[in-house]
């Protein structure tokens, strides 16, 4: 069954959505969208370094995402209002990654594959990395869910309950780095943040509890991945961007329905 590249692509898309969607909820609640963008862009530099050092691309990308994530985390407060600092970091790391890739003489580099994803070329090894990463992310998030949620509402409430919001924020940064690294193959560094934010934002209009929102974001993320893949086959469009377009369409419908419901009642 895994011999079929379409099956592998579908599994990769679903695995990526599984890791990204619940994390995306925290990205939305904690107003970290730009933070996600900055860490995602930084992974291109990690990819270039991995190619130069001939190590696993996933490891290089995850390491860079982690370094940038923890650095920003230490620089700014819990809610990351350092909008400009993130803007500088986000684009500087992307540019540095592009420059670094250009230095890789002798290595044939499919740049657009790293920028926009190459889900139709997913190998069995890639699949193992994606699903292993997704399982790790989901385990960590499920373990710290309540603590993270409390700290998201108010860090002082978490501290008064004997929790350590700072440690949980570090765990969140680590899981984000892993999720971003596994998502490169599916959507590429430029569109990873969209996979985090859009399903969660689309789920918000309907959800009444945090858990409901996370579950719905997973459903929307997986459905968008499969729909985008189908669209890519039907219309011969790039797969990664098609998946993001599908998620954006769900978002538009969900917001429209919410606005209509509000207007009527």
């Amino acid at each position: 069954m895994l011999d079929d590249f379409l099956v592998r692509a579908a599994l990769a898309g679903v695995g990526t959505a599984l890791a990204a969607a619940p994390l995306g909820c925290f990205v939305v609640w904690r107003r970290m969208a730009f933070f996600g963008d900055a860490t995602a862009h930084a992974t291109l530099l990690g990819v270039a370094l991995a190619l130069a050092l001939d190590i696993s691309i996933f490891a290089g990308a995850a390491a860079l995402a982690l370094i940038v994530g923890l650095t920003v985390d230490r620089m700014a407060g819990p809610r990351l209002s350092g909008d400009t600092a993130l803007g500088v970091l986000s684009h500087a790391s992307l540019a540095a990654g592009l420059v670094a890739v250009s230095f890789l003489s002798g290595v044939p580099v499919d740049l657009s594959g790293y920028l926009f994803g190459d889900i139709l070329a997913v190998s069995r090894t890639d699949l193992a990395v994606i699903w292993g990463g997704a399982a790790g992310v989901l385990t960590l998030i499920a373990w710290r869910w309540s603590a993270l949620l409390t700290a998201t509402v108010a860090e002082d409430l978490a501290i008064a309950s004997g929790l350590s919001p700072e440690r949980d924020r570090t765990i969140l940064t680590v899981t984000l780095a892993v999720a971003i690294a596994v998502a490169i193959k599916a959507v590429g560094v430029l569109l990873i943040a969209a996979l985090l934010v859009i399903p969660a934002a689309a789920a918000r209009a309907v959800a009444r509890t945090p858990e409901g929102m996370a579950a719905l974001a997973i459903v929307i993320g997986c459905a968008s991945a499969l729909a985008g893949l189908q669209a890519s086959l039907t219309f011969d469009t790039p797969a990664g961007p098609s998946m993001v377009c599908a998620a954006a369409a769900v978002f538009a419908v969900s917001r429209g329905a919410a606005a209509l419901r509000e207007a009527l009642g």
């Binding site: 939305v28 609640w29 107003r31 982690l66 923890l70 985390d73 309540s146 603590a147 949620l149 409390t150 998201t152 509402v153 108010a154 860090e155 002082d156 409430l157 978490a158 501290i159 008064a160 309950s161 004997g162 929790l163 350590s164 919001p165 700072e166 440690r167 570090t170 940064t173 680590v174 934002a201 918000r204 959800a207 009444r208 509890t209 945090p210 409901g212 929102m213």
Partner: protein, 303 residues
């Protein structure tokens, strides 16, 4: 990685361990019921390089209601945050009784509009509570059964009472309330403080609250601390209200408002009537409940 190694610093120098931890050397046990629940010893706190609190000695005994008053920026919220361990002391220390159960109501909590959160889910943070427990806590906070409502749909008074309900869920021995009536009208805050007094009666917990509205909380307070970076003065409400350090910070007009509740002050009513036309001289006046600025140099307090 390195970041995880630094994580335990989150609790700073606050001693002893979080609730549930075993054995605190400084405060051995519950042999002395009158022993302080929490104490600050020579506590100094610096935020962003600025010293906010200096040399605070402060303790809370079981069952007492302590009100902390002081001008804006005097470190009232920081003192409460130091007591729960949210800010690390620059000097001195905070000692909590081992296993102390704390209920905390923070100042001006805002729930992000992107976070869907029902009242019952909020009450179950961080630990799951049964429907019976949450219903009891809501009732104890003086609320009807709002469990299915969204937090963002509550009125200001309901929201503050839900925060109180959550703080009550752990059967706290110590309730810390940071300006819990901010945004409420006067009848609303009076009702809130009556509820606090009733909770103390029912559960025997100690209460420390920060308030601007001394005239409202006064009748329920056992002790008042007047804070301005340091403890200016402290004692029974009537004592503090007549203390020169307190009057230096809040103006003598306060005596007029306090007289509504306590009639044993030495002050001139004529003086109050003439001053009451000028809100700057009566910070507790309805029209100017928030004192606009610090009317006197802090150095006039005795330090």
């Amino acid at each position: 990685m390195t970041a995880q190694r630094t994580a335990p610093l989150a609790h700073g120098d606050v001693e002893p361990d979080p609730p549930g931890a075993q054995g605190a050397p400084e405060v051995p046990g519950d042999d002395a019921a009158s022993r302080p629940l929490v104490a600050a010893q020579g506590l100094s706190v610096a935020l962003a390089g600025r010293t906010v609190l200096r040399g605070i000695d402060f303790s809370v005994s079981p069952g007492e209601i302590v009100t902390v008053v002081g001008p804006n920026g005097s470190g009232k919220s920081t003192l409460l945050r130091a007591l729960i361990g949210a800010v690390a002391p620059a000097d001195g220390r905070v000692v909590r009784r081992a296993g102390l159960r704390v209920g905390y109501v923070p100042q001006m909590l805002r729930i992000d509009a992107t976070l869907p959160l029902t009242v019952s889910r909020f009450l179950s943070l961080p630990r799951r509570r049964s429907a019976v427990e949450t219903a009891e806590a809501l009732a104890a906070a003086g609320l009807p059964d709002l469990h299915a409502r969204q937090m963002t749909e509550l009125s200001g008074g309901q929201f503050q009472r839900v925060l109180l309900a959550r703080a009550l869920l752990d059967s706290p021995e110590l309730l810390l309330l940071d300006e819990p009536t901010q945004g409420l009208d006067q009848p609303g805050s009076a009702a809130f403080y009556r509820r606090i007094a009733a909770v103390r009666e029912e559960t025997g917990c100690a209460v420390v609250m920060v308030s601007h509205e001394l005239h409202v909380v006064m009748s329920a307070s056992d002790r008042v601390i007047c804070l301005n970076g340091h403890v200016c003065c402290e004692g029974a409400p009537a004592h503090v209200a007549s203390a020169p350090e307190y009057r230096a910070l809040f103006g003598t007009g306060t005596g007029g408002a306090l007289a509504l509740y306590r009639h044993d002050h030495d002050h001139s009513h004529d003086d109050d009537h003439t001053r009451s036309n000028d809100p700057d001289h009566d910070p507790w006046d309805v029209a100017a409940r928030r004192h606009p600025d610090n009317p006197a140099s802090p150095t006039r307090g005795q330090g």
